[in-house]
Amino acid sequence: MNVKIRTEKLTVRFGNNEALKGVDLDVCKNSITGFMGPAGSGKSTLISLINRMIDFEDGVRIEGGLSIDGEDILGTSVDVVGLRRRVGTVFAVPLPLPRSIFENIAYGPRLKGINKKSDLDDIVEESLKKAVLWSEVCDRLHVSALKLSGGQQQRLCLARTLALRPEIILLDEPCSGLDPISTAKIEEALNELKKDYTIILVSNNTKQIARACDFAAFFYMGTLVEFDQTEKIFTNPRVKQTEDYIQGKFG
């Protein structure tokens, strides 16, 4: 098994409130790992550590280690901007920038210094195709992204992340506001993408985790309760809490 992301005794405190309590976790390369758990369980906090978006929060204290490819990413000397180009993020609500579809996707590549029109054209087409959106928007790339439907916007966000050519993709409850058809399309896209990327999917929807993920992690109150292959977790959980959560007894 090829470890991409590893956490060691990772603890995060917001003031007096412990959001993560000593989490040890290995995320495998070229797989989809699902994070599940009720609200406030710490799964989103872990995500925001991996892309260091946690820097925008006040009063955070972090202990323990977090590494990508064996390289620590929590230190102060880490090149955060470079890190975020390696770790793409799709947020819970679709957040297109107020500009055209094309420019949304070209935003990341342009920041990297890619400005040649033909290069950008290629990247945009490739990313949209991977996000299963190309056929729907190929004839109106210069229309404002705000004009797309919610499901299309979320796939646009996925495409925008792919255009960065990242190694890791974090999806923070990407389907929470979407209809079943759009959700299916996103899951379809993810299944194709795992060949090239390491994907982490955060979801409240246990069925989605069961459908889409190779591995699943269950968080509760900041603790990693159980982590294993999806099949095992869903058929034969070791901990009672996990079983209750999967069966919908709380959450």
Binding site: D79, V81, G82, G113
Partner: protein, 288 residues
């Protein structure tokens, strides 16, 4: 671009922006420094009392008393408040509580445009219409405390209206609904619930209006008559601190000029105190 240069660039940008942000402090410091450096020596030379409480202003003969001007500045300020505040508050209450959406869309910008009219235009119209009116129908030369108060009263309207309007609008809807649900009429609700809740903002609007009136210059020079005595009635001419500076600055040299800067020091102090009070009042509201 390598990440190192990117980090460096960010750091430089942040430093430049910090410098920019401190420019306001720097300017404030420079203004105070230069007004004080030019104005304070005279307080030593002539004595604080003989300036602030001195009754006689004849700087070329060594008299630097600006007490009458301090009094006059306050007189016109209160005069402006007496004329401008009720009208302004009425407008604000109407806008916030009574006006319909369409009416508001027309009234609000129209009232704010009053702030855009240059002060010289107010002064000009004051000289041409208000001063002769007072001379012909009330008495005196027309250049008077009354004329100045009217002109300034109109000039502070936009300040009073917009700030007390904001204060009234920030009173939560639930307060109004609660009172209306108990069977109060609109006016009872406004008078007993909304206005008391917006009290501090309304007070702040009046204090800031006072600041505007104390600081106004050109319009005042044109209608005040600029006599050096403390006015004995509303029909007497008077000279404010601001107009003293503007009237004589171009002719002054030596101690005379210092005297005008001393006037500036006193004016600046009054303004800072007013602003401080306005801030205190507003902050108290925020804390509440």
């Amino acid at each position: 671009m390598s990440s190192k240069t990117a980090v460096l660039k960010e750091r430089i940008i942040k430093q430049v922006l910090t410098v920019f942000a401190f420019s306001s402090i720097l300017f404030l410091f420079l203004i105070f420094a230069f007004i004080l450096v030019e104005g304070l020596p005279l307080f030593y030379k002539a004595g604080v009392n003989s300036i602030i409480f001195g009754m006689k202003w004849a700087p070329t003969k060594g008299f630097f008393g600006i007490f009458p001007m301090i009094v006059s500045s306050f007189l016109v300020t209160f005069g402006a408040l007496i004329i401008g505040a009720p009208l302004g508050l009425g407008c604000a209450v109407y806008l916030a509580e009574y006006a319909g959406k369409r009416q508001k869309m027309f009234l609000k910008p129209a009232l704010e445009l009053l702030a855009g009219i240059p002060s010289v235009v107010y002064g000009f119209l004051g000289v041409l219409y208000i001063v002769p009116f007072i001379r012909n129908f009330v008495g005196g030369s027309g250049f008077s405390l009354l004329a100045t108060s009217i002109v300034l009263g109109v000039m502070i309207l936009p300040t009073v209206i917009s700030i007390s309007y904001d204060a009234l609008m920030s009173v939560p809807r639930s307060y109004r609904e609660g009172a209306l649900a108990m069977g109060s009429t609109k006016w009872q609700t406004t008078w007993r619930v909304v206005i008391p809740s917006g009290k501090s903002g309304i007070l702040a609007s009046c204090i800031l209006g006072m600041g505007r009136a104390v600081g106004e210059t050109m319009a005042v020079i044109m209608v005040a008559g600029n006599a050096l005595k403390i006015p004995g009635s509303v029909l007497d001419p008077l000279r404010t601190l601001t107009s003293n500076i503007a009237l004589e600055l171009s002719y002054a040299s030596g101690d005379h000029r210092m005297g005008l800067f001393s006037t500036g020091v006193v004016l600046l102090s009054i303004i800072m105190v007013l602003n401080y009070f306005a801030n205190v009042v507003i902050r108290r509201k925020v804390i509440k």
